[in-house]
Symmetry: C2
Subunit: 471 residues, 2 copies
């Protein structure tokens, strides 16, 4: 198979979707039309409900609870094929892409939603010492380190070193950092309380370090303050305007201050997939494509870039709801879902002969090429720009505690938490996952226990403490 260009199987237009995240999956679900051929390429076999990864990392949920096989989610769409492979390059000029196994795929439309990874702002050596939370392996690794730190503290007789094991540092005060810090605070306070004989897990220190002046910068300031108060009440040491300047085995340096710790979790920055560089499109500082108002790549209306791979300038209708200081839509699941739906609608409109102005469907193929009498002078895609409908944003801080920013309503507490649970379960793909997650939550809410406290992988693999091998 390597080296072979996959032949067009029939005369149908071929939409290739890179990435089975929220954007890719919602695009595929909305392209379930037998007249279109759809191929989803992902290097993992599962869609991941990323907003709940921190629950896997803190042992509240199992890996399987927040992931569904992409094949299974799309099995009823008979026009859709799923390929487990890594895309290594896109050739926009030839309308092909290369897979890691050496084969190529031709496309008529490309939906590019490969997601993002952590960014360490040039300090890549921090990655091993301070893993982030993007995929299941990340979450299981964080869980392993957190649980092992308690195990080592239990065996450590030296009080200073013991405190190092019992200090957990979360870097970054965005939603992931806030949720992670809150979950860690509850883990040590409730779930582990009775399990140790030589330590009191409640004495563990959870620190949340944020370089800016407030937490959750995409929320209104009143909710940022409220979040800080709730975290402090949970026993989290919140430090604002505290930039991390160094991470070493056994300690972190932040704002000139050395914190002994063996467990650091990174939630401070993102960088988009390096695959985007092969598109030849203009990228922003985080490596995202500066897309047109219809999410397309400038000069390539057949390539749509979605989700946190896109730097999309918020328009008039997009107020609040996490729009960044630079005026960009946030890399959240709701934006990705709406972009996926929009991309599917756009492609279907094209194929029905209702073209975006300036768009040329591939020559010699059935499709909207040249029809539609509108003048060619308008910039591409201006006719039907993507419109983000901001339904609000929610972040959970702990058991029965959350903050909500919904339209003009800013509130926090138990009701916000209930809304969060409802929204998240509703969006969890797959009936089974919904029921299991609901049960796990009910279980941990009423019993204060954590159901998934397994250390998977090598127990004796190193944690970044003792003599270290940088990977």
């Amino acid at each position: 198979m390597p080296g072979v260009l996959e032949p067009r199987e029939d005369g149908r237009p071929h939409v290739v979707i890179i990435g089975g995240g929220f954007a890719g999956l919602y695009a595929a679900r909305n392209l379930g039309d037998p007249r279109i051929r759809v191929t989803v390429v992902d290097r993992r076999n599962h869609h991941l409900f990323q907003p709940m990864l921190y629950q896997v990392a803190t042992a509240a949920l199992s890996a399987g609870d927040i992931a569904s096989p992409i094949r299974s989610v799309l099995s009823r769409h008979r026009n859709t094929e799923v390929i487990l492979a890594e895309v290594v390059a896109v050739h926009p000029d030839r309308r092909t892409l290369d897979l890691g196994d050496g084969s190529s795929i031709e496309y008529d439309y490309l939906i590019c939603a490969p997601g993002a990874r952590h960014s360490y702002f040039g300090k890549d050596q921090w990655e091993y010492l301070a893993p982030g939370l993007k995929n299941l392996e990340d979450a299981l690794e964080v869980r392993r380190r957190v649980l092992l730190a308690f195990e080592r503290a239990e065996r450590e007789r030296d009080p200073v070193r013991r405190q190092g094991y019992l200090t957990f540092v979360v870097v970054g005060g965005g939603p992931t950092g806030v949720e992670m810090a809150g979950a860690l605070a509850e883990l040590r306070r409730y779930a582990l309380r009775k399990d140790f004989r030589h330590i009191d897990s409640r004495e563990a220190v959870v620190m949340l370090l944020e370089g800016g002046t407030r937490l959750l910068t995409s929320y209104p300031p009143s909710l940022s303050d409220r979040t800080k108060d709730v975290l402090r009440r949970l026993g989290v040491e919140v430090r604002l305007e505290t930039l991390v300047t160094d991470i070493q085995p056994g300690y972190v340096v932040a704002a000139g201050w050395t914190i002994p710790t063996h467990t650091v979790i990174w939630a401070a920055g993102n960088v988009a997939s390096p695959l985007l560089k092969t598109l030849g499109a203009p990228l922003d500082r985080q490596g995202r494509v500066l897309v047109e108002p219809d999410c397309s790549v400038p000069g390539h209306p057949e390539i749509l870039v979605l989700g946190d791979a896109a730097a999309y300038h918020a328009r008039d209708g997009h107020r609040g709801g996490g729009v960044s200081p630079e005026g960009l839509l946030p890399g959240t699941a709701p934006v990705a879902i709406q972009m996926g739906e929009y991309a599917a609608r756009t492609i279907k409109n094209d194929l029905r002969g209702r073209p975006r102005t300036g768009f040329q469907f591939k020559e010699g193929r059935s499709g909207p090429s040249g029809d539609g009498g509108s003048g060619g002078s308008e910039p591409a895609g201006n006719r039907h720009p993507f419109q983000y409908w901001n339904k609000g944003q929610l972040a959970v801080i702990g058991r029965g505690r959350a903050v909500a920013d919904i339209g003009r309503l800013h509130f926090s507490g138990f009701v916000a938490w209930l809304i969060w649970i409802f929204v998240h379960i509703f969006f969890l793909i797959g009936f089974r996952n919904r029921v299991i997650v609901l049960f796990e939550w009910a279980y941990s809410y009423f019993t204060f226990k954590r159901g998934a406290r397994l250390i998977q992988g090598e127990v004796h693999a190193p944690v970044p403490t003792e003599p270290i091998q940088t990977p």
Copy 2:
């Protein structure tokens, strides 16, 4: 800490338990007495419900569903401490044991239940090509290989190579092999049926190779025949008297016959933990300790060896119920559980001054040393030998299909399956696991789906097919 001998903390007798499997955990649970100090040492943080590992391997259950943290199971026993560490040696003369971190522990009693691994009969190079099922990592690796084989078949255009990906070979016709083959047959027939576009998962071949003349040799012959029939009706190719003579990347040689396959699962042999060699006790061919009738090591009544680490000669009362042709009790969970309870009872009796004859509690300590007026001429431990109460044995073959050997009753089918479910859920440790497993089973029974079809770990890590690096 390394190098330090842990001091005796108080005057209480110290029982150290190696292994948090069924034997070790049931011993610990029955030693919950404040006058005794108990320490459980395991190199994993979780107890594993090993009989259901094949369900994790075939994506029916998540890893977390069949495992509970040992700490959590024992958290209410305030006299019990849990240490996450590997035991590297026992020194029966000094009554100490060495941990992997360089520290040592003194004991008064040692319960040694470290379990077993697979045996490849001297062909250790087969391990990488044909993993077995002993721990969660094994099961997740088998799951990864099985699901990846379908993914590769979907992408493979050459029909011969495709068939190699779609052939699954299970080696060994004991309970694990039978259950694994049945579960694979159902996975390809139901759960994956609608997910692929280029292959029909139902065309996958599942082979069960057994060297002997029948499956489930510990069961009555009528049930062996019945099992073979049910497996064949599920589409499993059962081959008896078929010894595997070679395993290579891409094929297996059995009875002079070459089977192209990329997925081999080993369920053919066990060898006990190498730790047992440090006891200086007589071992059998599988490395198990030839224990006394009270499960003790000859000459060391304070060391009790339990579970599949013990070669225990079945006595008059132990008829049927999986007793091996050599007359040994099987390495099953029920035997381990009863041994664990027996060991706890024995130790408590000793400490109450009702000694086993010939047993000398350590000098200078409170305890039964020298008291109890019974004569010293009887061989050690003959007074209260371990008595296995055989409640029967059950093996599940598939959805609604199982075989049961309970006393004089030998039967198969739906009722046997219901009994199996009831018994297994009943023994699953922890309320949460029980409910989740029940739900997952109900879900997969009524929908034919599998809930845990995640490929964890590196998707692009090699499976043993293409150019191979032997580890």
